[in-house]
Amino acid sequence: MSLFDAMDIAGTSLSAQTIRLNAIASNMANANTVASTPEETYRARTPLFKAVLEAQFANDASKMGVQVDRIEEVGGDPRAEFNPGHPLADEEGYIYKPDIDVATEMVSMMQASRSFQNSIEAINTAKQLAMRTLTLGK
């Protein structure tokens, strides 16, 4: 039934944005995670979205949800910081911090949150229309 398809489509957006929010939370939580080598240092990750024409939607081109294609590690190399007193410092006295810009992450978080709200709005409207259609002729 078409009205429920709209909810399905918006639902794919909800789950995709949730994954994005999770990745952002993980990035912000690890913004100050220190490591002894550049390899061990946490790297920012971000989900890449892709439009999806699922098998359940395939017979109708008007339905297209969104899915997380893959999660990529982004950002530059870890920053080396000279701090010989740190317990995790290597032989030369360096510790490594991830290259995470908290401001960028916050902006991305706002974006994800707005998109989430938009999809919720769409689901709510679809629900109202469905309810109205169900009471047709009463």
């Binding site: 078409s2 489509i9 995709a16 979205f49 109708d60 008007s62 969104v66």
Partner: protein
């Protein structure tokens, strides 16, 4: 056919509702893909789509075994890509505000059609019962 009479009484409202639903799916997909790189926003031209849908209501008689009956329901509307007002860096052409406005407008018009259909149905009901 008796059912045909009632079909006619409902006018084009059923086709309108089906098309509005399809358009809502498209607009929801646009909103859902607002952050998808290289996604192109899509929509239908409602006037053309409705004209096509109501035109295909013409009944085709199947008098011989080889004839194929027209399937009921609305024909697939032509889906077109939206012309973006402003290009974005990731190739996405979804304008969240415009999509939102279009979505709401579509929902309102859907409700208007439902209201119309409702009134027609209660009219028919009255006619059947013979109430004044």
């Amino acid at each position: 056919m008796a059912a045909n009479g009632i079909d006619k009484a409902l006018g084009i409202s059923p086709q309108v509702l089906a098309l509005r639903m399809k358009r809502m799916n498209l607009l929801t997909a646009n909103i859902a893909n607002a952050d998808t790189p290289d996604f192109k926003a899509r929509d239908i031209d409602f006037r053309t789509a409705l004209a096509k849908a109501t035109a295909s209501q013409t009944r085709v008689d199947t008098t011989k075994p080889g004839h194929i009956a027209l399937s009921g329901g609305v024909s697939q509307p032509q889906i077109q890509f939206r012309q973006p007002l402003q290009e974005s860096v990731n190739g996405n052409t979804v304008d969240a505000q415009a999509e939102h406005a279009a979505f709401m407008e579509n929902a309102m018009r859907y409700q208007a059609s439902i209201q119309l259909l409702d009134n027609r149905i209660s009219g028919i009901k009255k006619a059947i019962k013979g109430e004044p």
